[in-house]
Symmetry: C2
Subunit: 330 residues, 2 copies
């Protein structure tokens, strides 16, 4: 979907967190991250070379990634001269902001004039089919969570890395805008029209070699009332052979819903298996990924040991310890 490698544009990001999309590219696809470009006010730094448009072009950059968000996800007018220069030089532009590139007439005119593409990765770029639930060759693993934002994308990316290190064929399949920008392709599932959700995931994870694993980025949670339908479409469209349960143990309530408690890992295991078996009776849960960021080292290790004993499955924090045990479990 996106031409690589990238120049990562951080704009006037007020802090490092605002540049987390660009950080994701640098962490997970360093071979795509040629350099960064920052405005004077920018407070984020990826530790990459600061390049002008011309320097990045000469090094081979083919897409300028808008890798930082202002408050409200809007595009600043101060960015426009740089975006225009990138188009003129020959680069495409990709953005995951709410504010769309396609809604800026001056950018659209310049892209047309120079024959460049502008990709709003929140907007579906493809006409997806209706799903048919048929088996496909190759293997698929899906990360499911007790809640939104518990580390499902991180888990799938870390598993891909660990599997490559073990010499196992594996491809991360992005289903959200950050994942799409990191890897250059994917389906922005939360923006797909209801009838085509499952079909879009079938399209994303087609027939493959028998010993190849797709690692599908999860979205939402079966237990999150706002987005459970999206998760269900992922489970049935993805037709996983393996599931990884993802959890953040210190969260006080479901994200954005103070009146909802998180389910237990046991409840997540049972409902995920029950729904996934509708399309693949042989599906198995192969491990548990816990985001222990808010815990100290001892507390985290004790928690993981307890979960592992209780559930009878490998339980790891892929950020602290890597995802090798999950990869081996596959």
């Amino acid at each position: 979907m996106l031409q690589t490698p990238y120049l990562l544009f951080l704009g006037d990001a007020p802090d490092q967190l605002a540049a987390k999309t660009a950080q994701g590219v640098r962490d997970w696809r360093p071979e795509f991250a040629l350099g960064q470009m920052r405005l004077a006010e920018c407070k984020a730094d990826l530790g990459l070379p600061d390049l002008s448009i011309a320097e990045a072009w000469d090094k081979g950059a083919r897409t300028l990634i808008i890798g930082a968000a202002n408050r409200g996800g809007v595009m600043s007018d101060s960015w426009m001269p740089i975006l225009m220069e990138a188009l003129e030089k020959g680069m495409d532009i990709a953005s995951g902001l709410h504010d769309r590139l396609q809604d800026r007439p001056e950018l659209v005119a310049a892209a047309n004039a120079y024959g460049r593409r502008m990709i709003d990765v929140r907007t579906p770029q493809h006409k997806y089919p209706i799903g048919d639930g048929a088996p496909r060759r190759g293997k698929r693993c899906l990360a499911v969570g007790t809640d939104c934002s518990v580390g499902k994308m991180y888990t799938a990316l870390a598993m891909e890395k660990a599997m490559h290190e073990l010499g196992i064929k594996a491809t991360f399949r992005a289903t959200g805008q950050t994942g799409i920008l990191i890897t250059g392709s994917g389906v922005p599932l939360d923006a797909v029209v209801a009838d085509f959700m499952a079909g879009s995931i079938e399209w994303l994870t087609p027939d493959n070699e028998d010993d190849h694993w797709d690692l599908i980025e999860g979205q939402g949670s079966l237990f999150h009332p706002s987005f459970s339908g999206v998760t269900m479409a992922l489970i049935h469209g993805g037709r996983p052979d393996a599931l990884v349960l993802c959890h953040e143990p210190t969260r006080k309530h479901m994200r954005g819903l103070p009146h909802y408690q998180l389910p237990t890992l046991e409840a997540l295991r049972d409902l995920s298996l029950e729904t996934a078996r509708i399309v693949n009776p042989d599906v198995r849960i192969i491990g548990i990924s816990v985001n222990t960021f808010a815990m100290g080292e001892d507390e985290a290790n004790a928690y993981l040991a307890d979960v592992e004993a209780r559930m009878g499955l490998p339980a790891v924090d892929p950020y602290r310890h890597g995802a090798r045990r999950l990869a081996e479990a596959l």
Copy 2:
């Protein structure tokens, strides 16, 4: 959403089945069905007065409903003079066809010139919120099915009728184009963007009187891999107090999916309850609606008696026997 009453336009419908949307209006909202208009080739007949545009207008018709489908769901050029005349006379036009009114420039120009509305009911007409899963006042009942097209809309409409006869406050809530055309409002759920599915159903079934029931039209099935995400969003967005299980016992496989068998009523009961309890722990299954159209009278009655004994719940075919027992069970 739609102005009532209606003139039902049957076009050149090749048979009675092609006019099923108009038939639905006549059956369930006879007070909206002032008359029908048919072209010379039309083979369908609703038994309503045949009216010209002028006659219908004089009797009070305010919307021309395109109530029949050609092969492929397209609009014939032969319809255009009539549609133009309706706009000129002062009527809105509503359609559930795939082929959209909004894509016909001559119609759009006429509607703008005369200040009329053209409503493609497959296209969402509202910017829906993201769901929040919060409790709402009033009661809600949702029809869920072992498959698509097993009678969920019919069941909810028949229950509404039976409840009105019993003096119970009840409102059918449409979630598909036929239901929207019949009742004049609703959410075309299969065309809503994924992130807003649950929120659109919360919007459709807002706070109401404590003794009022919303009867929510079901869509898809938790067991149908193509559309299970839509069903899940209905269950969590609808936050039902009561569920009715719908089934068609003679079907050989899931609709459109020869490699999938239908689940048992027991499996539907268990998974529906488990998912609905996430948003409402007090939800109950109150009865079973069986489409026995393909069975003889004796066979149908024996099947219903068997299901009723097996499941311990009232089991009826609302088409043969009405939905009074389901209404009473609520």
